[in-house]
């Protein structure tokens, strides 16, 4: 039995079964996800033993469709399968009272199958197909509660933004295949020179769309309109990860010029979206902004030439962010809202959930010995070792600082004050899923050295450069994280008091100064950023409107011009036909006369051609 097929087909066949049977969707979904997980784990175990697997399917002539299990793809497949399974466990509880479980689980599994195909794809054409499939299924999932106001437009927006960026992938794939003469990803990675720069930039565009990088980050926050398990799955470990995975897989090909652009895009994103997260008043939207910010950090690592660091952070982030989302889901059920104001003190009602949430938050901020600490360190070390240390290091540190800031703010709001919560059903399932993910978030760091050893021959880049003192990245990262946490914890307290007593008149000059110097400008920048993105969206919309206008114009032209022409042509043809019939009078002498005249004309024509030629 081929394990690649198991990893992909198990969720897919579960989808089909759910749609056919329309019964027991949750059980079937769990079963499908679990079997898929075993397939992925088997693949990972095999690659540890040095075995690689490949399936070649007939595709275009000379360009077969390939599925390959290398250490990298097997690891990603396992990551997707693990998160999928745990989120599925959680979803059993979360969707307990929803009437449309069949549609939910079927789509979720379809997404999982598509994502598995994407990470295991060994050729560009299959990857492109899977890329489109996750786009489609994410659209269906974000728009799951399509009757709620705003949900449909959020889904459409997510789809359109990622779709337009996907054009980059299409052109990039075209360039790569045309250049290498093969659609095999491994072969095309030997591309160099101009095509590599162009393809790299275009791949970056595609990755920016899927991984919600500035200026294309807004869709991710709006996509929070979907159910929380969807957010946990799509927006932490899978859909948005596709962009980063694309860049990590193609990293060996990317020339230095492209790497710098990638690093700068990542840096700008991590700061901008970090600020947005800080100013956000909705928990899920804050987490979404934070996702963009963390993917910005990964892009910094890719830009620094150390995709390994990006991969480690991708893995750690997947576990951490899904835990955070799942915790947020419980809070959401508890207070029927995701607004931070409504969620004040909800942590006290659910101390166990809050404990898990807090662990994940600290992991994200980068507190040892949680997993995020190691991966952030790797990124800072990467930035330190890069040729562009001046550009990348400040971005990386700012990103870390902001992470600490908004996570602390969230924890503080969720813990302080008291509020009334309503009982939450399905808590056991949700707790189980959350527990599993938090556990991963905590202990994954221990697995990193092993993963590095496994992947080193594949990514072919050493993680730590020998010329860096061992503890510099740790110290830098930790101080940034702690600074962020402290700021995040204390400043909002001040801000909450602010409306009661104007902060300028208080004695906390330093804190007030911080508030004045950092928070206000940060919020202002955040608002500016929001305005900027509004503007960007307005321009996107305006372009859309222009297109529609043009379309209408063309259609009108069609109606009056081309269609009119066709109609008059048809009418003319029918008239001619009627004329042809009147020739057929039924009077034989007349018909014979016509035949005679026509033959005479033909004879004349013959003699003319005789003379001419």
């Amino acid at each position: 039995m081929n394990l690649i097929a198991v990893a992909i087909l198990a969720p897919l066949s579960a989808t089909l079964l759910i749609m056919l049977l329309r019964k027991q969707p949750a059980g079937l979904a769990l079963l499908g996800a679990a079997i898929g997980l075993f397939g992925s784990l088997g693949l990972l175990a095999n690659t540890f033993n040095g075995l690689s697997e490949e399936i070649i399917l007939p595709g275009l002539p000379g360009m077969p469709l390939r599925l390959v299990a290398t250490p990298l793809t097997a690891l990603l497949s396992t990551l997707v399968a693990v998160v999928c399974t745990l989120v599925m466990v959680y979803a059993v509880g979360y969707m307990k009272n929803d009437k449309e479980k069949v549609r939910f689980f079927a789509t979720l599994l379809l997404f999982a199958a598509a994502m598995q195909t994407l990470v295991l794809a060994g050729d560009w054409i299959l990857l492109l197909s899977a890329w489109e499939l996750i786009g489609l299924s994410s659209y269906l999932l974000i728009g799951f509660w399509y009757r709620k106001p705003g949900v449909k437009s959020a889904a459409t927006r997510a789809f359109l933004v990622t779709r337009s960026a996907d054009l980059g992938l299409y052109v990039a794939v075209f360039i790569l295949i045309a250049n290498a003469g093969s659609s095999d990803i491994a072969t095309t990675l030997n591309t160099s020179g101009g095509p590599a720069i162009a393809a790299g930039i275009l791949l970056l565009v595609a990755a920016m769309g899927k991984s919600a990088q500035t200026p294309l980050h807004d869709w991710l926050q709006r996509a929070m309109a979907g159910p929380t398990p969807v957010s946990a799955l799509l927006h932490s470990a899978t859909l948005v990860a596709a962009g980063a995975i694309l860049l990590i897989r193609t990293a060996p090909m990317l020339p230095p010029e492209t790497l710098l652009v990638i690093g700068i895009v990542g840096g700008v994103t991590t700061v901008v979206t970090g600020l947005i997260a800080l100013g956000e008043s909705d928990l899920k939207r804050m987490l979404a902004a934070s996702t963009s910010s963390q993917y910005g950090l990964m892009l910094i690592a890719v830009g620094a030439g150390v995709p390994m660091a990006a991969l480690l952070h991708l893995i750690a982030h997947a576990a951490i962010k899904s835990s955070l989302f799942l915790g947020a889901g419980v809070f959401q059920h508890s207070r029927d809202s995701t607004m931070l104001k409504q969620l004040q003190g909800v942590g006290r009602n659910h101390p166990k959930i809050f404990f898990g949430f807090a662990l994940a938050a600290l992991a994200l901020a980068g507190i040892p010995p949680l997993s995020g600490f190691f991966s952030k360190d790797a990124i800072i070390a990467a930035a330190l070792s890069s040729d562009h240390i001046v550009v990348l290091l400040p971005f990386a540190l700012a990103g870390t600082l902001l992470t600490g800031g908004y996570m602390a703010r969230a924890l503080q709001i969720l813990w302080q004050k008291n509020g009334t919560s309503q009982p939450v059903s399905g808590l056991a399932w949700m707790g189980a899923g959350l527990g599993g993910l938090v556990l991963l978030a905590v202990i994954l760091g221990a697995a990193f050295p092993g993963l590095e050893a496994l992947l080193e021959p594949v990514l072919n880049i050493r993680l730590t450069e020998s010329n860096i003192t061992q503890f510099i990245p740790e110290i830098l990262g930790l101080s940034a994280a702690l600074g962020g946490l402290l700021l995040g914890w204390f400043i909002p307290v001040k801000r909450l008091l602010g409306p009661l007593l104007p902060w300028t008149n208080r004695g906390f000059a330093i804190a007030g100064g911080f508030d004045n110097l950092m928070v206000r400008p940060a919020l202002a920048i955040a608002h500016r950023c929001e305005k900027l993105e509004r503007f960007l969206y307005e321009s996107v919309l305006a372009t859309g409107r222009l297109g529609l206008k043009l379309g209408q114009l063309v259609r009108r032209n069609d109606d009056q011009g081309i269609d009119g022409f066709i109609f008059s042509f048809v009418r003319g043809t029918i008239n001619l036909g009627a004329k042809a019939r009147t020739l057929q009078s039924g009077l034989i002498h007349k018909e014979l006369a016509i035949s005679t005249v026509a033959s005479a004309l033909l004879l004349v024509f013959m003699f003319i051609t005789l003379l001419v030629y």
Binding site: T573, R581, Q584, S595, A598, L602, L610
Partner: protein, 457 residues
């Protein structure tokens, strides 16, 4: 002499068949006459098979046994058998039913002769023989319509045939021989060659119902029994077209005959479809459609000598045309003669409707049906012969033809306007057999054209 007779065995078998069938008819045994005819024709077909690949002639070059004439027998004789089955279904029990079978066999013999013509006298003989039988067949119902149609047919045939014989005398005078193979002697006297060519165009043009010599066809088809119309639109027409191909092979190029025939082809295709566009009677519509299809055949005739595809394309399209046209006429027999009767057939008799749609789509030339393969080869032959413009006109006409055939297809899937059951003719096993065989060939030739082509060379 013995060799000549051996090579003529199929023709001799048909002749004997006619004699035996006539005897049976005189004894008033129409079923025996039919059986004799069918077995005779099938026997002749089987006897033709060993001659595949032959390229010779008999009786001093007056009759050719070559690719065209052998395949003509292989296509026309089975097509005749199918026509006989249709005729039996339509005319069973009428007075002197057996004469129909006899005449049909005679006309087929004439058509087969025409397809192997090697001498102007055989050409005249074939046209006269085929004409005489056809008049009688059209007049068979003995009502006013049929008689008038037959009369018209007869007058038309007399005028055109006599003009042809007159024109052919120029060729005889110029070359000193009635053999087609001696026509190359006319190289030095092009005006004589041109007058003879005109005579052939008039004579064969009437037989193949090319514009402007087609006037008899719609009336004759409408007046005749539907099965006879089906037969006349297939067998004598293909015979005449193949005779055309045999004749033009030997005409000196100095006359520019391909250009002349190309002009006739354009006239025929365009006029045929334009006139078909306004018909309300399905038989007349199919009559004009068969006029237009003759124009497509001419694409292959134009390319004779210039393209190796020419003969292949003519043969494949002959087979395709025979299958799809017979099938379409069989459907008319089952459903009715006017477009009105086709309304709602799609709901009441879905199988018949699907079959009819397939025949009509094949007539348009939609892949993967037989008509498509045939037209595709014809277009290829014409392009190879340097007649790209003619191909473009033919393709434009195909678009027009879709409009024509849609006039039958669309009503079939509309709400029926009549109350109650479809008043179709009793679906006899004969008609069913015919349309199923025609359907198999319409699809089969389309799918396995490669196989067929391999055998023609």
């Amino acid at each position: 002499m013995e060799r000549d007779l051996t090579l003529l065995i199929p023709e001799i078998i048909i002749l004997l068949t006619v004699v035996f069938a006539l005897v049976a008819e005189m004894l008033r045994l129409p079923r025996i006459a039919l059986t004799v005819c069918i077995f005779g024709l099938l026997l002749a077909t089987v006897q033709t098979l060993p001659m595949l690949g032959a390229d010779t002639s008999v009786f001093g070059g007056t009759f050719r046994i070559d690719t065209l004439s052998v395949w003509a027998k292989l296509i026309l004789l089975p097509a005749t058998v199918l026509s006989l089955l249709l005729a039996r279904a339509e005319l069973a029990g009428t007075d002197r039913e057996g004469t129909v079978y006899v005449l049909v066999c005679l006309v087929s013999l004439a058509s087969v002769l025409l397809a192997g013509v090697g001498d102007t006298m055989v050409l005249v003989l074939g046209i006269l023989l085929s004409g005489l039988g056809s008049f009688a067949l059209v007049a068979y119902p003995r009502n006013d319509f049929a008689t008038e149609a037959a009369m018209k047919f007869f007058v038309f045939a007399s005028v055109t045939t006599s003009v042809m014989i007159f024109g052919l005398s120029y060729w005889f005078g110029g070359s000193g021989s009635t053999l087609l193979s001696e026509l190359s002697r006319l190289e030095s006297s092009p005006s004589v060659a041109v007058i003879g060519l005109m005579a052939v165009i008039i004579g064969l043009g009437y037989k193949a119902s090319l514009v402007p010599f087609h006037f008899w066809a719609p009336d004759a088809y409408e007046g005749a029994p539907v099965s006879i119309a089906a037969y006349l639109s297939v067998v004598p027409k293909i015979g005449a077209i193949l005779a055309f191909a045999q004749v033009v092979r030997d005409i000196p190029m100095i006359t520019n005959w391909p250009l002349i025939i190309a002009v006739v082809a354009v006239l025929t295709m365009t006029y045929g479809y334009l006139a078909a566009l306004v018909q309300r009677n399905v038989v007349r519509l199919l009559a004009y459609s068969s006029v237009a299809q003759a124009g497509y055949f001419l694409l292959g005739v134009v390319a004779v000598g210039a393209s190796p595809l020419a003969l292949q394309s003519l043969i494949v399209f002959s087979a395709a045309y025979a299958a799809m046209n017979l099938g379409a006429f069989a459907m008319v027999m089952l459903i009715g003669r006017t477009i009105e009767t086709f309304k709602g057939v799609g709901r009441e008799k879905p199988l018949l409707a699907v079959a009819m749609v397939i025949f009509l789509l094949s007539l348009v030339g939609i892949p993967p049906l037989a008509g498509f393969v045939g037209k595709f080869l014809l277009f290829g032959a014409a392009i190879e012969a340097g007649f790209l413009w003619l191909t473009v006109v033919a393709i434009l006409n195909s678009v027009l033809s879709l409009a024509v055939y849609l006039r039958i297809m669309v009503p079939m899937y509309q709400q029926s306007s009549r109350n109650g059951e479809l008043s179709t003719t009793e679906s006899t096993p004969f008609i069913t057999t015919v349309w199923i065989i025609a359907l198999l060939f319409t699809i089969g030739i389309g799918v396995s054209a490669q196989l067929l082509l391999g055998n023609i060379n």
